[in-house]
Each structure stands twice: as C-alpha cells, then as structure tokens.
Amino acid sequence: MADSPSAEQSTKTKAWNDPAIRAIVFQVLAALGVVLFFYYIINNALTNMEARGITTGFGFLDNPAGFGIIQSLVEYDETYSYGRTFVVGLLNTILVSVLGIIIASIMGLVIGIARLSSNWLVAKLATAFIEIFRNIPLLLQIFFWYFAVLRTLPAARDSVTLGESFFLNNRGFYVPKPVTEDGFGWVWLALLAGIIGSIVLARVSRLRQTETGIPLPVFLPSLGMILGLPLIIFLLLGAPLSFDYPVLQRFNFQGGVAIIPELMALLLALSIYTAAFIAEVVRSGIEAVPKGQTEASSALGLSNGQRLRLIIVPQALRVIIPPLTNQYLNLTKNSSLATAIGYPDLVSVFAGTTLNQTGQAVEIIFMTMAVYLTLSLLTSALMNWYNNRIALVER
C-alpha cells in the first residue's frame, strides 16, 4: 500500500488518534468536570447552609447596620443599612489606594532616579532603601508604623501643633477643613474652563508644530489658566471660603479634617513598600533606553528638557507602564491589610464587622472578591488601553 494517497491514510486514523476529535473529547470532559465541580460546591453550600439554618440571600443589605464607623466619605451613622457599610468600606479602600498610588509613584520615581545617580553615596542609599523595604513583609511594616511609631505620638492635650491650626497627636493629624460659601461654584467653573483652555492650547500648539515646526509656549499659559483664572474669580467674589479649625474639646479635637492614625500608618507602609518596587521599575525603564538615543538627541540640538520630555521619557514609559500597572494593582489589593489595624476599608468593615453581625459569609466574601476583581480588571483594561496607545508602532 505504499502508493496509497495520503488522504486515504488520514481517514484510516483511529478516532482516538485524531487530534481534532481528541480535542473535542478533552474539552467535553473538562466542561463536564467544571460543571460537576461547581455543582458539587454549590449544592454542598446550599445543603449545608440549609441544614445549619443559616440565612441566605442579599436581603440583609437593607437591614440597619447599628454600628459606628470611624471614617466615612459619605454620610453614615448607625441607622444606615448594611448596604451602606459596603459603600463606606469601598470608598475608604479607594481613598487609601488612590493616595497610596500617588505617594508611592512620587517616592518611587525619586528613589529610582537616585539609584542611577552619579553620586555614589546617594545611589547606594537608594539601593539600601529598596533592598530593605521590599524584603520585609508589608503586614509587618504596617504593624511597625502603627504600633511602634504612631503610638509614641503625644496625647491630644500635648499635641504637636503648627500655627494653632494643625495638630498632630496619637488620635490623628488634624487640619482645618475648608468650607465653601455661596458663589464658590464659580471658582470650580473657572477651574474647569482653565483645564479645557489648556487642553485646547496644547492641541493648537501641536498642530502648529507639525505644520511650521515652531511650537507655541504651552506650559506657562496653561499654568496661568488653571491656577490664575480660578484665583482671580475667587478674589473677585471676595474669597468665599472659610476654614473650620479643629478645637480641643473635653476628649478629642472636634471639627476640621482628621487623618486617623490607622490611615497614616497604612499609607506610610503601603507607599514605602510599593515605592521600593516602583523605584526598580523606574530604574529598569530608564536603563532600557539605549545611550544612542541620548546622543542622537543631543546631536539634533535638543535641549536637556526637550530631550527628556520628547525622547527619553516616552521610550522609558513604554517599558515602565506594564510593571507599574502591576504595582498599582498590588497596592490596591494590599490595602486590604487595613483590617489588621482597624482602618475601616472594605475588608475590615464589610467582610469583617458586617459579616460578623449578619453571619452571611458566602454572600459577603463573594461581594468583596467581586469588588477587587472589578477594580483589577478595570485598572488593567485602562492601562492596556494606554499602553496600546503609546506602544511602538512598527511600520
């Protein structure tokens, strides 16, 4: 049968040797496995919960919570529902994540650049910083700041004060709270107008540069529009802003904005820990830009600033963005360690106290996980979009 056509041979292949058929069988088996697995899990969960008389369903979200929360970005007191505690926790998580990301980015950038400094000592110190803080568990760092450092601050009566309006003690950092009065809305409008104006200016400038090669001055006029415009309006309206100063009452300071020590400890730990990682990301990003690029841009006669802004940073960013996204996501997820020191984040308030008061573990853990998953997917989607936009377009 040496001369039989190959097509015939392939039809003779046994069914279990045909990759296509095998693939289908495998997948059907896998699908069955997954379905069975989830059936097993869900069935067990339902039977167990019923057998043990555990209430199920999301009805509990409408019940009054009945416990207080120390920090809330939206209106909250004990009369609000469990659903509201979810929102409060979520907002607190977002608050600490956003603040943490901002601080960690700045610190990471500075330390990353310091690590590449031509100054030997500075470079070594930056390296030491990175190696120390990224090799110690974050939870330990949180404990350290909270229990070992912030606990040593003075009591409310002996606060460290700054100009009789800023107070630092073991109950937190108290700052005056700006209170907007009538007409302040115009200032916001002016700010908005300023931002739109600068975007338009940047666009026009870029168009002109592509056409004539000469850019318009952008930086100073934009600064003027964004800061100056609202300031002028603000002064014209007669400064419609007052401050609510923190005042020492019988027990604590009242009024003003209080940054509670739990938040401070968490922020410190999160930003320092993440900054150590970001510094490495920044360093590898900068090192990834070949030296020839610097030389070529100097040869073209670009100024130092132009070289950084137009040549180095855009190329370094391309390397930096993906790992940086990961670090931002890690920071957000790590903020859940708040529960260890009682900062009222999502895990602490909702998957902690609320879970405990209602006993509905499955629903609550499910909701909590869904939130982090959504945050993660959203952030990575956003960063992917940005990454695609700045990615190298190969022609």
């Binding site: 997948q27 031509s118 000592l121 120390i132 360690l337």
Partner: protein, 364 residues
C-alpha cells in the same frame, strides 16, 4: 649614541586618584552632588548613631525577664528569652528534635541542589519533591510509626512560616504548569477555563482568599469532610499561588524558540512527550529565577495568616508583645521579625539574581 630614553611617567595629579580622587568624582562633582552627599551622610549618621547606641552598645542581650533590661537601650532579652517559642510555636518542647530533623534534612537537600557540581541532582530533587514532604509530614504531625501526635494548632513561629511557604510553592508548581499549558492550549474551552482561573486568583487579595478558605471552605465540602485550620489556609495559599506560578511558567514557555516545538513535532513526538522531554526541561531552567521571586513574595505573604488566627512568626511575636510582662518592647519585636524575614528574602533574591546571570549566557 644612546637610545632615546623617555622620562618616567609623572604620577597623575594627586586629586584624581586614590580615595580623594574617587571621592571627588563620585561624591563631590558639582555643588548639587556635594550638598546631596553631605545630606546623605547626615542622614546615615542619624540612623546609624541611633541604631548603634540603642541597639548594640546600650542593649541587653540575655536574661530571664524584663528586669534584666537595665542599660536603657534595646531589650533584646525579649527576643532571646522567647526564641524557642518564636521558632517552634507551641510545639511540645521534648519533641522539638523532630522539627530540627525536618529543618536539617530540608537544608541539606537545598544545599545539595544549589551547589553546582554535586552528583545525582535528579535523585535528590525527586526525593525533595516527592518523598521529603511525607517524611516531614509524619515527623511533624506524628500520629503514626509510634510517633506522638502533635496537633497542627500547636505549630507556630518560624517553623509554620516556612511550612506554609514551602508547601505553597511545592504544591503550586505542578498546578501552575498545568494551568500554563492550558492557557497556551489550542482548545478554546480549556484555554478560557485556565484564563478565568488565573485572572480570578490574581485579581483578588490574598487576605480575602484566606478569609474564604477559613470561613467558606467548610460550607463547600460535603457533610463529614473537614480540614483543620492550617490545611484550609494551605488550600487557599496553593490556589492563589498556582495562578501566579502559572504566569511564571507561561513566561518560561514563551521564551523557548518556536523551532524547538516544530523540531519536536517533526520528530513525531506526542504533545505530552514534546512538553515533558523537550520544552519543559528547557523552560523550567529558565523559570527558576521567576520561581524564586514568587517564593519570596509568598514567603512575605505567609505573614497574612495571622489575620485568620494562625501563629506564624509575626503573629507569635505580636502576641508575645501583648504579654503584660513584656509590654513596651514592640520596636525590638518588630525589628527582630523584620530582620528574619529580610535575611531570608534578601538571601533568596541574591541567589535568584546569581542564577539569572548564570542562565542568561546561552540565550542572548
């Protein structure tokens, strides 16, 4: 006629060589750098001065109780007096030798594997991966072969930290390999299941995973099947870790040139033979640094088990700090834990960097 004899070279200017020259070019080149250097020196002085006088010179090292701390500096007595508890948790004191054997055996295996020229590496690796876990389990847990049973709730301290981290990494490696292969598979269903699994676990914080393992897992099991707390935590850690491991393995697989796959297929190897004989052996070697880095991350993350009430190194020190007899030594306690974790993680990261350099040669 005498030959031309050049004068001997003059030495370079004194301020460009030697310590002074070095300092000039590395520390004081320009006003900005000089200021930075002085500032950095000042910072170092502040930190080191405090640490050396407080932590070393004025410190008390040994004793029985806090009365031994009289010098006004650090009270390391807190750590030295309880070092057994910090290492072994509540493990019965007369049985500690069993833990020591496990530690020694594990260390011996690791050193054997890390030394470049040791013979029979394959056998040792197989022993470490397959036989050692059982030996370790029976030695630690007891309850068989005439060994006295030691319940897992008595495990704690550094020992528990190491156990969770090692189990997490060893168990998640095979799962990670399967997931990574699945993610690169041509079969759409398998691929999507693997992607969903990986992205799900990577998207949620470990602490919620641990909560889930400790609170929800019992509900998912049918009546009568139950795990103790440690086993549940480990299941959570392994599920979480295998997703990260899968990404490391995927990276390794992607680094293998396509030609290798094609050559293997041309030789008529089946999928599993191709993977098992050609691709994975090459890829695994490339993955070792990644695996070590994941291990470092996991090692640090094990401290989170304290939130679900297991007594790892951090938790046991934390609870010792609450002892009324030892109130007020939190700085010493945290520095000690920090140092232990740091030493492990830093050591491993150096090792992984060394490996990376060693392995890099053939592939660039």
């Amino acid at each position: 006629m005498s030959a031309f004899k050049p004068l001997p070279d003059l030495p370079p200017p004194a301020n460009t060589v030697g310590p002074i020259g070095w300092a000039r070019s590395n520390l004081f080149n320009g006003p900005v750098n000089s200021v930075l250097t002085l500032f950095a020196l000042y910072l170092m002085y502040l930190a080191l001065d405090w640490f050396i006088t407080w932590g070393l010179i004025n410190a008390d090292w040994f004793g029985e109780s806090r009365e031994a701390c009289t010098s006004g500096g650090a009270c390391w007595v807190f750590v030295t007096a309880r070092i057994t508890q910090f290492t072994y948790g509540f493990y019965p004191e007369d049985l500690i030798w069993r833990v020591d054997i496990v530690f020694a055996l594990f260390a011996a295996c690791l050193i054997w594997l890390m030394v470049d020229r040791s013979p029979a590496k394959g056998w040792v690796a197989a022993f470490t991966l397959f036989l050692f876990p059982f030996i370790a389990y029976f030695l630690l847990r007891g309850d068989a072969f005439g060994l006295e049973s030691v319940d897992t709730h008595k495990w704690g301290g550094l020992m528990l930290t190491l156990i969770i981290a090692v189990v997490g990494i060893v168990a998640s490696l095979p799962i990670g390999i399967l997931l990574a292969l699945g993610r690169r598979s041509d079969m759409p269903f398998i691929r999507s299941v693997c992607i969903v699994y990986i992205e799900f676990w990577r998207g949620v914080p470990l602490i919620t995973v641990l909560f889930m393992a400790s609170v929800m897992l019992p509900l998912f099991m049918s009546e009568g099947v139950e795990f103790d707390k440690l086993a549940r935590a480990m299941i959570g850690v392994v599920m979480f870790q295998s997703a990260y491991m899968a990404e490391v393995v995927r990276g390794g697989l992607q680094a293998i040139p396509k030609g290798q796959y094609e050559a293997a297929q041309a030789l008529g190897l089946s999928y599993w033979k191709m993977m098992g004989l050609i691709i994975l052996p090459q890829a695994l070697k490339l993955m070792i640094p990644g695996i070590v880095n994941t291990f470092i991350a996991l090692f640090k993350d094990t401290s989170l088990v304290l939130i679900i009430g297991l007594f790892d190194l951090l938790a046991i020190v934390q609870s010792a700090l609450n002892d009324p007899k030892w109130l007020g030594y939190s700085v010493e306690g945290y520095l000690f834990v920090g140092f232990v974790f740091w030493a492990f993680c830093f050591g491993m990261s150096r090792y992984s960097m060394r490996l990376e350099r060693k392995l890099n040669t053939g592939h660039r």
